[in-house]
Amino acid sequence: MKLTGAQIIVESLVKEKVEIMFGYPGGVVIPIFHHLFNAPIKFILTRHEQGAVHAADGYARATGRPGVVIATSGPGATNLVTGIATANMDSVPLVIFTGQVSTTVIGNDAFQEADITGITRPITKHNYLVKDVKDLARIIKEAFYIATTGRPGPVLIDVPVNISNSETEFHYPETVNLRSYKPVVHGHAGQIQKACKLIEQSKRPVVYAGGGVISSNASDELRTFIKKTGIPITTTLLGQGAYPETDRLSLKMLGMHGTYYANHAMHQSDLVIAVGARFDDRVTGKIDEFIPHAKVIHIDIDPSSVSKSVAVDIPIVGDAKNVLAEMNKIVKAPKIDEWVAYVMKMKEENPLTYKDSDVKIKPQYVVEKIYELTKGDAIICTEVGQNQMWASQFYNFSKPRTFISSGGLGTMGFGFPAAIGAQLGVPDKRVIDIAGDGSIQMNIQELIVAVQHRLPIIIAILNNGFLGMVRQWQQLFYNKRYSYTCINFQPDFVKLAEAYGAIGIRIEKKADVIPAIEKALSITDKPIILDFHVDREENVYPMIPAGKSVKDMMMRELA
């Protein structure tokens, strides 16, 4: 049977078992929307294309399934750019459809024309411009395959309107055949053996796990590995949840705002076992002084991540789940009782802490109470900045896919739309966006979407009237010249919530923090904004300043 390109897109999505998609209509995608109208796919109409792509990203991170997005040509497509770059940096599988002007006028500066495949080339895993409707079904099949295999990432398909309107026979391919794309899944057996031997002989090993453990669903294998070897484990920001942070051997997060004990354990280690992590600069600090005594085993599915910034002794290219499972079969526990005792002592003596106040609301206190009252069982989304770091430090993550945050790109305005996607994907969990008063205003328009779909997302604004992280740097490194970081001229967030049909509560006293969170948790049919007016100049500690090493770690405010 002959179908139009628009019908082929919808039928292919059904074949891919897409249950939900996010997007925004526009001129050249009307033919596609025409068929989405009665498709068996839940469509979430956001209020900005950026909201759509972040929501799809949040959905993908929370569920492990690819997020699907559609937007129109020109501004619709360019509005996706930040969201695509966000997903690309954090290896999130997305399939994005953009409309394009007709192939007959491409390149003529037609109305709402933008070269979106050109624009997104460096920020997608791959992209396509469809020039013949006969290629469409194959391209969609390939896009889902590429997005979800190997190191996952966003794939964009640009569909000119005349392609949507032309007809061809529809056959959805069963398989994909790309001679130039064959991701390595199984680790090299010899390398695995070498690695296990090195582990067995190590005296001061540390496991450093990243988001790759979560994207490959390798948490169980990682837990078994730690149980078998007894090696202390730290995670990156995006690795949080890969291993229970409540466990004795967990050193929580490392890096710029990581724990004292994680960073010092890494620094003193003689063997770092990196799993699905990429030695990003927020982790390493000054590269010459990073893990000076350690050999490195690096397990990663992406060969280009290996030896990119840190020289690796034993690279194992493969899927973390697979490689860890193989290692678990043969690895023997090293004799490291003394080392573990030493690290545990560091952990006990240098906990994450803050100076609480009887009067002021400390932002860390708010996160702690959210943790306690949700019993650590919520999905926490964050914005970017101080809110993100406090959420990481004072919430203990125990399960994968429960911490959702823009790590690599550091996109303000990500958290709330991502929370919408996460809540739609995981309806039986509480989803909380820990936000700052700056970030939340970047995609606040999506509040109406949460209200419309009766999503009980809690937006906890740690409101300090500042772009806090930048202000912190200005305080510490720029002589307290708070150049354009004071944003206390701000909307009434309670009224704003009410205007959208959500609930808004302002919390100005410490005693009101717990009741407000309890109240929010009791509401199950609409979003709630909790506007916590926190101590305005609280800083995030510990802190290793950018480009410095563990020796320069600042533990608390200098008097």
């Binding site: 495949t117 050109g118 080339r121 460096p122 895993k125 791959h126 411009l129 590429i146 790309l178 001679r179 130039s180 794309y181 992406d302 060969p303 280009s304 030896s307 990119k308």
Partner: protein, 158 residues
């Protein structure tokens, strides 16, 4: 900063050149020369890229090239393991009285006369890039009006 010759076999499709070139430009690297053509199989193109850069970064770029979906194979070429050739066309301002000198020079280097006018001569030579460099140096005293090179093509010896 050493010179690298990277040979990249790619799917013969639109947009692939931009992807490949983008990996260099995004790192602020200027491509010294680039030659693209079809190969023995019409659906495969080969790009010979000459670029100067830090070894570590070039290594990283090669990994990134391999990561591109449309890239089939990336190989390092050098004068020891590969035959490398370039074509040069040089237009010289030459009056008829000086032609003989030019002819002799051309003969020594195995260059051909590709065109002659009352004021100019166009020389053509195929050779390895170093010989072409030398040839150009010897032409300089004769007032080069215009000069163009194809960029290197390179094929592994085995």
């Amino acid at each position: 900063m050493s010179q690298h010759v990277i040979s990249v076999k790619v799917e013969n499709k639109f947009g692939v050149l931009a992807r490949v070139a983008g990996l260099f430009s995004a790192r602020g690297y200027n491509i010294d020369s680039l030659a693209v053509s079809e190969t023995e199989s019409p659906d495969v193109s080969v790009m010979t890229i000459v670029v100067r850069g830090d070894d570590r970064i070039i290594e990283q770029v090669k990994k990134q090239l391999n990561k591109l979906i449309d890239v089939i194979k990336v190989t390092d070429h050098n004068p020891e393991n590969a035959v490398q050739r370039e074509i040069v066309l040089a237009k010289l301002n030459v009056t008829p009285s000086k032609r003989n000198e030019i002819y002799q020079l051309a003969q020594i280097f195995g260059a051909r006369i590709a065109g002659v006018s009352n004021k100019t001569i166009i020389l053509e030579m195929v050779n390895d890039p170093e010989t072409i460099d030398n040839f150009i140096e010897l032409l300089r005293p004769y007032s080069i009006k215009e000069l163009i090179r194809t960029g290197r093509v390179s094929i592994l010896k085995e």
